[in-house]
Symmetry: C2
């Protein structure tokens, strides 16, 4: 009979190892129908294991139809059909063209010798480990629950509604507040509920690539709408857009603030067209100048604005927590879709975050983060203003955790980011923010992940590359 | 001038309160363009607050265009246009018809006086609080990371791959393993990648309602395929189905095991049609009889099967963790979609679960859970066999945490669940598992959430209702 092996370092139970070997041998034809298996007593003695272990393996093979017992003859390999052997090359599963076209993002951890200027990266040293840990410990038992509210726990929703009213003037009740796994996830949910495949949705161009990817993956037609110094050019939004996604506090990536007049114009457009506005306020906690204008959500009188926020910049991208504030007319459908897909947000994280907000730790963390990031912002801004070569200019930004530098007007310029990478600078090319034809060159320089003492050296490295 | 109020119990900063009142007054016309605001010094003295507080409020109103400073005259209400007032009733945002048609599920916590027989509910007393807490504490610092791997942490993927091989014989590598927020979420991801809106997908009928809801919400045509005592009737699967979703270990809701012959037939069908098979192994950890047959994933030679698992039955629905094992050809698209939508699974939960598995706590918990649930299963089974009235029979089930009782063959029978509810029995009607026309009456009786001492009283209550 065939040789059987046992591997003492294999973590799998012995019976499983035996079963696997025999099954594979049968499937691959090394044991053929009618072949007799060695009696279990003999196998056990040879391998110095319990007979019960062998009979368990044989029992499983029998239950699965690989072997049959024949009185007087022991166990024989069955004659039942085997899984179809691969006679022709069957095409392996492939994603749809749409799904295959989504370009992944590749933020990679920076090496120690690099300047980490990737937008979206935060300073891990600023994360309030002790306070967060304290909040987690107090709420660990939330994992005992059954299936929770798809909208999120009432406690967190109330804390979020209160916080976003205080900090941004967003008129939110706990009833209208929906906890998500980030801002992009919020947009994904809203799009699933408001737009059927094939419908048109509008985004700022340049804009935020993950949202474009999401919308396209849902089979929506994404229309890019130009922006000027006041924000999205409302008259250029397609009349049949079901939804328009904007970043009015701090346009991603160019940085301008949508003027109050333009906000009112956008709201009037939405009212006439019956469309929804998704307002993504992604890093408005970090303001460098005066208070921002009222959110669209606050100016909205007709229940057309869904406000989206995230804790990925405010606290940590690792938490995977965001939220949205919705007109109540959309609540039932949002709840139903969420419930079907992944039921609800993880209760334990929600518990910790509720505690973190209501006990004042979030406010404390933000005060500290604003100070630190503010220092880096001012130093980066002045260094860029001093050191950028002619043809490059820093775009003004009232808020946020990155600055955008625009380059010479020739959009055929090569993408400099690989070259910058070789000089130890990790940042993001402006052209990646265009869903269609890039209309400008430049780069986004995040400073939240860049230690203060690296700011000036980073700008020196940048300008030496740009100068050559 | 208008009266200004400060509420000491209002948690909002005073400047925000002042700002809010003035802004609302202007928006509602109680202060009109050209009206002069009381000088800040006067307001401060009247309200006994710092002048800086008042000037902050006034400064914000000015920045937002509500008031303008005029030298010699103080601050006057501006003449800029206000947000468009609601002249006609503008239709509020509504979800699409498809999104609005998703029926929410409403598992509600059972009242103390009720028998909680809802499938999917677990016994909270069995959750290994101390072990889980220990694992959470050891891995709390995972929240410090930046944006993690969309597929999940390498540690958890390796632990899952190893565990699912040991426990179910699924041939998985860490590379093919993908961490999700539950089984339904895994199906949602796979469908987004494998099927374009308008494509046909096949499910068992009766089947699992959340998956039907998900697939429909994506704009897919859902075809219900009948099942017989061996599982899904392969010859009835539409030839153009891109994907078929099955529960072969323990058909939900009817409980049969897909025979080995039928599994091979299904695999041959998928190979000929180029379709994918999604194998949902949702509660196979709780077997009451012999080992189950080999998973489809194991029998699959052509990379057509995506295996889906969840910890919602094995550990707790509150964790929101599931996983899938995929042919590698789908990995790039799955990663890209996940990354765009919610980037990655929450790292802290992943860390705790990795520890929980690798330190043996999961195995220990499962041994205990199997004992406890096994007792309830046997008692429920025998009680039903003794007490069910004529016309009702218990469907055989080799595994899982619920038993299904089928009723008389007249599908026009009323749904008994509201009546049962009035008698303190919370369970699920079989007809809710049909995506199309219900072809049978009956009910699903979960026993994981039902304490042992409640089993017999619950069955007595059930049969008294059925008898009348």
């Amino acid at each position: 009979m065939m040789e059987l092996f046992l591997d003492p370092d294999d973590p799998r139970p012995l019976a499983v190892q035996l079963y696997e070997q025999l099954r594979t041998a049968i499937a691959e034809g090394r044991l053929r129908p009618g072949d007799r298996l060695t009696p279990s007593r003999t196998v056990a003695a040879d391998l110095r294991i319990a007979r019960a272990t062998v009979t368990e393996a044989y029992g499983r093979l029998s239950a699965e139809g690989y072997i049959e017992g024949h009185s007087g003859r022991g166990s024989l390999v069955s004659a039942v059909p085997q899984p179809a052997r691969r006679r022709t090359v069957v095409a392996a599963l492939q994603p749809t063209r749409r799904a295959g076209a989504i370009v992944p993002f590749a933020p990679r951890p920076g090496a120690a010798s690099e300047f980490d200027c990737q937008p979206g990266h935060l300073d891990p040293a600023l994360f309030p480990v002790a306070d967060w840990r304290r909040c987690c410990l107090r709420t660990l038992d939330h994992a005992l629950g059954q299936y929770d509210d798809p909208q999120g726990t009432p406690g967190l929703r109330a804390a979020l509604a209160n916080w976003v009213l205080r900090s941004r003037g967003v008129a939110a009740t706990a009833e209208q507040t929906f906890v998500t796994s980030g801002a992009a996830h919020a947009v994904d949910l809203v799009a699933r509920v408001l737009a059927d495949p094939g419908a048109t949705v509008a985004v700022e161009e340049p804009g935020y690539p993950p949202v474009v990817a999401i919308l396209r993956s849902q089979g929506l037609r994404v229309a890019g709408v130009p922006v000027d110094e006041h924000g999205i050019v409302v008259e250029a939004i397609p009349a049949n857009a079901r939804l328009v996604y904007v970043t009015p506090s701090h346009q991603y990536p160019l940085g301008m603030v949508m003027s109050r007049r333009r906000r009112l114009e956008l709201l009037r457009w939405a009212g006439r067209s019956g469309a929804a506005i998704v307002e993504d306020d992604y890093d408005s906690e970090f303001r460098h100048a005066a208070r921002p204008l009222e959110p669209l959500q606050r100016l909205d009188r007709d229940g057309r604005v869904i406000y989206v926020g995230t804790f990925s910049k405010t606290l940590s991208p690792a938490l995977r927590v965001g939220f949205l504030v919705t007109p109540v007319t959309l609540l039932p459908a949002l709840r139903a879709v969420r419930q079907a897909v992944d039921w609800c947000p993880p209760p334990a994280t929600q518990g910790a975050l509720t505690e973190f907000i209501t006990e004042g730790y979030l406010d404390r963390h933000l005060r500290r983060a604003r100070r630190r990031y503010g220092e880096r912002y001012r130093l980066l801004r002045s260094s860029l203003d001093q050191l950028l070569p002619a043809g490059y200019r820093r775009l003004p930004a009232e808020a946020g955790l990155h600055l955008t530098v625009s380059g010479p007007r020739d959009a055929a310029d090569p993408d400099l980011t690989p070259i910058l990478r070789r000089h130890g600078l990790r940042l993001t090319s402006l052209r990646r923010s265009y869903a269609f034809e890039p209309a400008a060159t430049g780069m986004l320089i995040g400073f939240a992940g860049l230690p203060y003492q690296h700011v000036v050296p980073a700008v020196h490295a940048l300008s030496s590359v740009l100068n050559s």
